[in-house]
């Protein structure tokens, strides 16, 4: 009972983390930009979805994903591009952007927490192996699995994916081969921001949307990426799963040490395998 419940919870939370972290990881892997506004985009997606819920849940999630993708593209073209190769400027720039987004959200949606209803179909509970579990959380696990499959297909089986992989491996060589790396950057940034926005919209019925959500989620995304390895899809997947498990069972078994336990594996991984579990050695 205890273990099944914990396991399902870990998977559901891991699903949210995956949607958040996979975009961060792709962007970092391709562009070497640690997008610290990623948590804020996640929150923005949640807020947009709460405003669009009148058109139905699916439409709200779609709108959040598209709006965040468009916003991501805009940011890449106007801000990130100008900071290419300057790491400190990128960190400060994206962090500043995160503050701006958070402040604008406060202005538009006020400081009150907003509760997003789950779609009517998924509002109840389901009994799984003798455990009563919210149906919506099960759906989240399924959605993340579909997203994983879709992204895997995109990266491994399409021309765009081949170009992304080529550019992740060796940007200069890819450019020399005639791959439009610049356009690729914008595409991946759109994709990453759109996934984060979708993650925020899908997480809203579970977590609600409130000021400070961005700052709660960003460190978790960083943890996932550090643990799993940068720019690696399987790394983001395994990292999300691991953090979901550690987060959930850490709280259940050793509540006093919940945060230590969360960061402990990161310390170990950084010490023993700095490129992450699935990361490749970086030159």
């Amino acid at each position: 009972m205890f273990w099944i419940n914990g396991l399902l919870n870990s998977l559901a939370f891991g699903a949210i983390l995956f949607l958040l972290a996979v975009g961060f990881s792709l962007i970092f892997g391709l562009m070497r930009v640690a997008n610290l506004a990623h948590g804020a985009i996640f929150m923005l997606g949640g807020y947009i979805a709460t405003s669009m819920i009148g058109f139905g849940f699916l439409a709200a999630v779609l709108a959040a994903a598209l709006a965040c993708a468009a916003f991501g593209g805009l940011v890449e073209r106007s801000l990130i591009r100008r900071l290419a190769g300057r790491e400190l400027a990128q960190v400060l720039g994206t962090l500043g952007l995160a503050f701006i987004i958070a402040d604008q959200c406060l202005l538009v949606w006020s400081g009150d927490p907003i509760a997003q209803p789950a779609p009517a179909l998924l509002r109840g509970t389901v009994e799984v192996a003798g455990v009563v579990f919210p149906a919506y959380r099960l759906a989240l696990i399924a959605i993340a699995a579909i997203a994983l499959a879709a992204i895997w297909l995109l990266v491994e089986r399409t021309t765009l994916g081949a170009r992304i992989r080529a550019a992740v491996d060796d940007r200069e060589m890819a450019r020399a081969m005639g791959i439009p790396v610049s356009r690729l950057f914008t595409t991946v940034f759109c994709l990453g921001a759109g996934l984060a926005g979708m993650g925020g919209a899908l997480a809203a019925p579970v977590m609600s949307v409130y000021p400070g959500l961005d700052a709660e989620m960003l460190p978790l995304a960083l943890l996932v990426v550090i643990l799993g390895g940068i720019g690696s899809l399987s790394g983001a997947f395994v990292g999300s799963l691991l953090i979901g498990l550690i987060y959930t069972f850490g709280q259940m078994l050793l509540p006093d040490l919940a945060y230590v336990i969360l960061f402990l594996p990161m310390v170990v991984v950084l010490a023993a395998r700095p490129q992450g579990l699935f990361g490749r050695h970086m030159a």
Binding site: N9, F13, G111, P113, A115, V132, F133, S208, G212, M217
Partner: protein, 408 residues
């Protein structure tokens, strides 16, 4: 040619001159409010400011016959910044009194400074027990309550009136949640109840699922949350289908009106205790609620009510010393003796430690007229921060914490 009317007006002006000059020399009463306009605490900060501004606008910006200069400073919800802002208010703006701040950790961060500077500190929300117990600052009084003040009667009510014997507690893992839980536990156990298990969730926990899974099957769950956490916990609790099975007992802020309007059916039927409810009968409260609803569109709660009371307390004290706020000693002495008869929450007065002795209301969330309200089902009158305990014995014990009174 000077007309007759001009002459009269001129004479009137000359006659009025001396008193006008006396007031001009004194200048306005300068009130500085520390609030939060950004970050996670912004909602509470806004509600606090709303409450105080309503008070000022009802008085046409005058207290005890003197004009008020009202200044607001944003602490960002950060203790270090709160201290800087407090220093600016005192040293640069020369405020006569500081009202606020939102969070207890901010109040603790500025308390020593305001004590050294000898500036009256009228706290409208921060509920940390020791501010009016073991760490007394003679310049500090508050209009809210201690964390545990509403939880003592709640503990007794849950054991005696509701008849629940076995309770699991869950609370935000910071001083406010710990003190609320400890107060509840102490009175609940004294009335024959048993606290089976105490769960503590970090303030910024992303998901309550793993905590909800540990609740087991008690008679009821005591939940003490602040800000958005109450909303998130109650929703997830309902999501797990537990709402129909195990009733929730709430601390004041778990179902505070400030966040209640964002809630839905998950909040229905929750019994809680607080020193205020927007559903209280009485003219003072009805007027207060109507006026604030015009401004904000929602019912006022903890922060607005506490700040409005701070205005009433200021007025009461200043009227007793003819508005001479510059006489700090006399002003502070008057502030410590405040007694308010027609506060929206009901009558209250300050005890000798600077904390209100006030009614504690047992409330039940219901849907009325299409919105959720905290209907009052029982009133404990004139409850002090020490409940029924002897003050000296209370103070000689350590302050309420995670493991005190009892380790579980």
């Amino acid at each position: 040619m000077i007309s007759r009317r001009q002459l009269v007006a001129g004479a009137g002006a000359v006659l009025a001159l001396p008193s006008a000059r006396a007031i001009a020399q004194a200048g306005p009463i300068r009130i500085g409010m520390l609030t939060v306009k950004s970050g996670a605490l912004a909602a509470g900060g806004r509600q606090m400011e709303d409450g105080f501004r309503l008070f000022l606008s009802e008085r046409a910006n005058r207290i005890a016959g003197r004009e008020v200069a009202f200044m607001v400073a944003d602490t960002g919800g950060q203790p270090a910044l709160a201290k800087t802002r407090a220093q600016e208010l005192v040293q640069r703006a020369g405020v006569h009194v500081v009202v606020g701040p939102v969070a207890a950790f901010e109040a603790l961060a500025i308390n020593d400074y305001l004590q050294e500077a000898g500036v009256p500190f009228l706290c409208a929300s921060a509920a940390a027990e020791d501010l009016t117990q073991r760490r007394i600052n003679p310049w500090f009084v508050r209009t809210s309550s201690t964390s545990a003040q509403p939880c003592h009667p709640l503990g007794e009510y849950v054991a005696r009136d509701l008849g629940y014997k076995r309770v699991v507690t869950i609370a935000d893992d910071f001083a406010f949640g710990q003190e609320q839980t400890a107060g509840f536990q102490r009175a609940f156990v004294a009335s024959g109840g048993t606290v089976v298990r105490k769960l503590w969730s970090p303030l910024n926990v992303a998901d309550y699922g793993s905590y909800i899974a540990q609740i087991g099957e008690p008679d009821a769950v005591f939940a003490a949350f602040a800000g958005a956490n109450g909303l998130r916990f109650l929703r997830q609790y309902a999501e797990y289908g537990l709402k129909q099975k195990i009733p929730i007992i709430g601390a004041m802020t778990t179902v505070d009106e400030g966040v209640l309007h964002s809630m839905g059916d998950e909040a229905l039927g929750i019994v809680s205790a607080g020193w205020y409810s927007a559903a209280l009968p009485g003219d003072a409260n009805r007027r207060f609620v109507t006026e604030l609803r015009k401004e904000t569109g929602v019912d006022p709660g903890f922060y607005s009510a506490g700040a409005y009371s701070a205005g009433l307390a200021l007025e009461n004290a200043l009227q007793n010393i003819d508005g001479k706020v510059e006489d700090k000693q006399a002003f502070m002495a008057a502030l410590r003796k405040v007694e308010i008869a027609d506060d929206p929450r009901g009558p209250w007065r300050l005890d000798s430690y600077g904390n209100p002795i006030q009614n504690i209301y047992i409330r039940k969330t219901e849907r009325k007229g299409g919105r959720l309200v905290n209907t009052v089902v029982k009133t404990y009158e004139n409850v002090s921060q020490f409940w029924t305990y002897n003050a000296e014995a209370f103070l000689s014990a350590p302050v309420y914490s995670r493991n005190d009174p009892t380790k579980l």
